[in-house]
Symmetry: C2
Subunit: 70 residues, 2 copies
Amino acid sequence: MSTTQTYAVTGMTCGHCESAVREEVSRIAGVELVDASASTGTLAITAGAPVDDAAVLAAVDEAGYQAARN
Amino acid sequence: MSTTQTYAVTGMTCGHCESAVREEVSRIAGVELVDASASTGTLAITAGAPVDDAAVLAAVDEAGYQAARN
């Protein structure tokens, strides 16, 4: 069974931004799917088990954006 | 002596976009300096001799944006 966590992300303006977020978040252990949308400002992560929010927020920060858990 | 050519570029929204344009345009033979600005929508190229506009427009297109010579 997989779980999905969603976040609001500010600052993404284009496909390059989405890719930067996807790349960083995909590195988190256990993450199976990452969907980042600049147009809606959302990030959805699917994983086999819940992922630590702090790790997600840190990964988004590393990519250069700000996230908050929905 | 160097010459500078400027272009109007539409579609760049962030630093990633600027980097994508810079990367493609920098590959053109003779180009010495490239400045791309998303905020002003401008591209400036400095080279030792005039660079073919078609090559510049093609490079910007390759990066995913549209340019027009100023």
